[in-house]
Amino acid sequence: MEDLAALGVAIPLVTAALLSGAAVFLPRRAIEIVSIAAAAVTSACCLLLLMDASESPLVYWFGGWVPRDGVAVGIAFVVDPMGAALAAFSGVLVTAALLYSWRFFDAVGALYHSLMLVFLSGIVGLCFSGDLFNMFVFLGVLSVAAFALTGYKIEEAGPLQGAMNFALTNSIGAFLLLWGIALLYGRTGALNLAQMGESLGTRPDALVMAAFALVVAGFFIKAAIVPFHFWLADAFATAPLPVCILLGGVVSELGLYGVARVYWTVFEGPLSSVASELRTILLVAAATTAVVGAVMSFAQHHLQRMLAFSVIAHAGLFLVGLATLTPAGLSGAAVYMLADGLVKASLFMCVGILQHRLGGVDEYHLRGRGRRFVATAALFVVGALALAGLPPFGTYVGKALIEEEAKLLGLAWVTPLFVLVSALTGGALLRAAGRVFMGWGPPIEHADEVSQAEGEEQEAETVAGRERTPAVMFVPALLLGAAAFALPFVPGLLAGSEAAAEAFTDRTAYVEEVLAGEFRRIPAAPAHAGPKSEELVPGFLSVAGALGLAAFTLGSNRLPSRWRRAIWNSAGRIVVGLRNLHSGHPGDYIAWLTFGVALLGGAFGVALR
């Protein structure tokens, strides 16, 4: 069974290599079928591993180099339910995205499919790695594939710049992570996560804190936490839509997974004495990310960029769950990530359908042009409501679990934050739906130059004005949306997530499994009844807020002009200022990144005192 873990990485990687070599002999459909099959088999492997690991984690030592006398000498894959679930989820998304690409591109070479499979291979490797350096390597593998996929439309200016900003920022993130790894290796002489955690002891000092700051900064850049988030909006707004399905569902999740994995295996020992300070720092970062992402999302009219900023906003909300540093918070974040990833993928697919049929994705350009698309409209609106956390969607359950845990910790502001952020991100999409599918709201003749440039860029991707929506585009979107709805009703999912989070955060058990080979069965958590019914209030409040905000902006031309001017002078100015910070200039982004690392390091330094 453990061997499957290695296969999960090998199958997509080998298929990718073979496909890029054999591409000249194969017709396009054959390449597509092979790549979809490889992605599906990999997902099946990960699902099998998930089922097995839910009973007790699996450890696979490459080349049979098992630990000698409790010291790791080889390189290990450690499969626990949390990692396996993320890998399986990514596999499903890659399969769906490849299926979706079937009709999306007019011309696409085998390299596209190879890159998607390399990306998947990197994700599976990252999720299973029990070794910090290998996490860095797999992060590199998946990042390089993602850079190339983002810039796949290499003849256009937008994707080139998006890929450039993505690659520069994330490479620096990888180097910061490597700095942290080097410092940790210097201190512990180990790269195995369990071994590192054992060697660090329980006393925090400056070097451990510096290493932690560097590792966290490296992963936060991937997770797009403010002020490291600039690359994500640029990359997601310009990448081909099938790639966005994937990026939007997994990239920031992987960054947060990295932080969680490293915290609970390596740093928990030395840092548990400053856990409350750490929680405060992470919560501040999370809340800032959520608010900035949500406001920026609401200020967009390019649908892809709007969704990109809601990815950032929700990454902030996931980080709130993680920042509780408790198993229950982590479990809530995991459920939320899963449901949100499904909804986002479905929404990106709907945007892709609009692009396919109408040749553009700008809210103003498409005003009223989507009236005929009843099914897509319905799916888009339901997706927007699910994104806002409409009960009983999985997104609502995940959010409610995090809110409950935050209340137990005395963090009363978390619920209003979640309501605000969900209302803004959901409201932006509902507003866009009203405009595109119903033709509501005032037309804007001078949709500013930026969006026009973007709109024109995008039109080249597919020939505008297709007559039919292909089933391979609509059905995956429908299925993913339905999965997000059905998620909380899957028997044992909530209890399983809770048990997985308990196992994930249990460092002693992890060390015993990896270094001593003593496996404990993961105790089955008692059946979980789901969030308490009083959580329904904030749930419906966010949906009402989203509907209200959408109605307000669509009907804003009916307000007296004095009111409009007052709104513009207050909120509008702030939004414009915030938008101007997102300059698209890589130098600015790296300056923000440096500032963020300094801030994070400084905050951790203060926590240590």
């Binding site: 710049q161 690659a167 520069l168 490479s171 700095w179 790894i181 860029e457 997102h582 300059s583």
Partner: protein, 114 residues
Amino acid sequence: MNFLPYAVAAYLLVIGLYGIVTSRNLIHMVVCLSVVQSSTYVVLLSIGFRSNATAPIFVDIPVGTRAVDPIVQALTSTDVVIGVTVSALLLALAVQVHKRSRTLDPNSLSSLKG
């Protein structure tokens, strides 16, 4: 314990970042990224360094000879591979940017704002 190599590594990191932030040319920016990356090579190799030690090739040296740490060298060479990939990709993108917009100055590229 000698702090000089760590000071050099930190210097490379900071000067590389400064170069990227102030760069007016995408090729120059990619080179600055390589400078940032060089800092990781220096820090890794200096962590594994031992004075009066030989290279870690254990074929023809007696058992127990002092050798520098081979693991950091393996890490460094992996890091070099990743660096080459990223640089190649970024340079290819820069060539494309120049083809399309006839400029390499990031200040005059503005298809992404707000």
